[in-house]
């Protein structure tokens, strides 16, 4: 951005230009108004609120101690399935998102229509939650892990595509120019010019999305798309709160471990 940070105009100092100030004030005003409107409109049933503390305490009491013996037969296979769903889903999304990202990157693909189509695919797949994708895929393929894998895959395409596309656009123009000037075809420029520059970003985005997907895969079972969510759903329906407690604790542990692993790898890449 080539704007001056301050406007110094004849001994009159302003930190922001008047358009900026109007914009900022408008933002604050709109936020406050929206907040107040939302508060007034939202329905809160007071009776439920009163016994909330009681309900919460009751809930935690029922969850503890965890029903450990439930683990081997019911939870372990579901946990493994969740892992598979997250990993396969992520891998499939990478396969689709990477070529689309090259189409979306304005420095690689100059055709504006292609840019736009790829960006549109990214935005629309991002806007639909994996849970909602799961509803669709369960309706098509029936309950089970296939629906889960596809939901994760489709949702992730937009995420990966957008971030990776941005990384491609930040590739050093000069390097690409040099390879083009030597007569290399586009495919070579991609392999030897773009890829070495963007590969750290690729791995970083892939790991980040995988981490998020582990979290997402755990809940897909609530609508029948496989994984530990199925066990959670049935435990809740049967009001076996000690099993619920166990499942939540397991999910928590897995998520924490995954996050530690992926953050340490990502910090080493970048």
């Amino acid at each position: 951005m080539n704007r001056p940070l301050q406007i110094i105009n004849e001994r009159h100092w302003e930190r922001f230009s008047s358009t900026e100030r109007i914009g900022r004030s408008a933002f604050y005003i709109v936020t406050v108004v929206a907040f107040i409107w939302a508060l007034k409109k939202i329905e809160v049933i007071p009776e439920f609120l009163y016994d909330a503390p009681e309900q919460t305490a009751d809930l935690f009491k029922r969850m503890w101690p965890f029903d450990w013996k439930f683990y081997p037969d019911n939870i372990h296979p579901a946990l493994i399935e969740t892992f598979h769903i997250a990993t396969l889903g992520t891998l499939i999304s990478l396969l689709i998102a990477v070529p689309l990202a090259f189409l979306a990157a304005r420095n690689f693909t100059s055709n504006k229509t292609l840019n736009w189509i790829a960006q549109f695919i990214f935005v629309s797949t991002r806007s639909v939650n994996s849970l909602i994708w799961a509803l669709l895929f369960v309706a098509i393929f029936g309950p089970g892990a296939l629906a889960g894998v596809l939901s994760i895959a489709f949702r992730s395409i937009g995420f990966v595509g957008k971030l990776f596309g941005e990384a491609i656009e930040e590739a050093n123009r000069g390097t690409i120019e040099a390879l083009t000037a030597s007569g290399a075809p586009r495919s070579m420029v991609l392999v030897k010019g773009y890829w070495p520059q963007v590969s750290p970003a690729f791995w970083s985005v892939a790991l980040l999305r995988w981490d998020i997907n582990i979290r997402e895969s755990a809940v897909l079972g609530l609508v029948g798309a496989g994984g530990i969510g199925v066990a959670l759903d049935s435990a809740m329906n049967n009001l076996y709160w000690d099993q619920v407690g166990l499942i939540l604790a397991i999910i928590f542990t897995v998520v924490i471990i995954t996050e530690i692993v992926t953050s340490s790898i990502r910090s080493r890449i970048l």
């Binding site: 390097t175 040099a178 070579m188 030897k192």
Partner: protein, 257 residues
């Protein structure tokens, strides 16, 4: 310069404007001989870089012809253009190496235009190519141990040498250099110009250099082309370059930087 050996590059009526009504290059006519270093001098913005980039079509000319190896470069497209570019090596101000690749990989990139895709993909280059790459690294003054170092671990001068090696890997009939010394310190600049001169003589390849430093141009070029406001205002050997010419090119006494 005598017209020995015949022209390698023939530019006629070259005209370029980025915005209509504001031409950057006006009616350039040049014949480049098959050997020697030709230095193009002139103030910034006068079209030197545009001229060089029009030759290998990094910039598209608005009008004019550029005859190279019997073809008009300004009309080529697609595969034919790539073919032609394979014979023109280019050295850049910012070196433009692939930072994360090693020196030897960067040099081998020079041959990308002529290799089937599986070779660079699987990094299975022929022994011949690898030997040639090592030889080139040698000949630009870098020792063998540099070959497996990453490009971003090198100094500016070293990077530019790799850039020159990469251009030589193409076995070019012409080498373009767009301000190859502008990012280097004075001593290294001299070394690089020496290298370009040596390369030109040993391999009998003409080199066209775009350069700010008039002293370097005088010292190493066999022909100087002075540009001002998009036109050629001087064309001759270095000894013919007088102060009056420099005044005309750079305007006033300002050329004495």
């Amino acid at each position: 310069m005598n017209a020995a050996g015949g022209g390698v590059l023939s530019i006629t009526g070259l005209f370029k404007e980025y915005r209509s009504g504001e031409p950057v290059l006006k009616n350039i006519n040049l014949e480049i001989e098959a050997s020697g270093v030709t230095a193009i001098i002139g103030p910034s913005g006068t079209g030197k870089s545009t001229l060089i980039r029009c030759i290998n079509r990094l910039v598209d000319p608005t009008a004019g012809h550029i005859i190279f190896r019997g073809e008009d470069l300004s009309q080529l497209k697609g595969k034919a253009l790539r073919e032609a570019r394979c014979h023109i090596g280019m050295v850049f101000q910012e070196y433009n190496l692939v930072e994360r690749l090693t020196v030897i990989e960067n040099v081998l990139c020079g041959k990308l235009g002529r290799l089937p895709i599986w070779r660079p993909l699987l990094r299975k280059f022929s022994d011949q190519d690898i030997t040639r790459a090592f030889d080139l690294i040698d000949s630009v003054g870098l020792s063998q141990e540099f070959a497996s170092r990453r490009a971003d671990a090198l100094s500016g001068g070293q990077r530019q040498r790799v850039g020159i090696a990469r251009a030589l890997m193409q076995e070019p009939s012409l080498i373009l250099a767009d301000e190859p010394t502008s990012s280097l310190d004075p001593k290294t600049s001299v070394e690089i110009m020496e290298l370009l001169d040596q390369v030109s003589r040993e391999r009998e390849v003409p080199v066209i250099v775009n350069i700010h430093n008039v002293d370097l141009a005088r010292r190493f070029a066999s022909r100087i082309i002075g540009m001002s406001a998009g036109q050629v205002v001087f064309d001759g050997p270095p000894d013919a370059l007088q102060d009056t010419h420099l005044n005309e090119i750079y305007g006033g006494e300002d050329w004495q930087a």
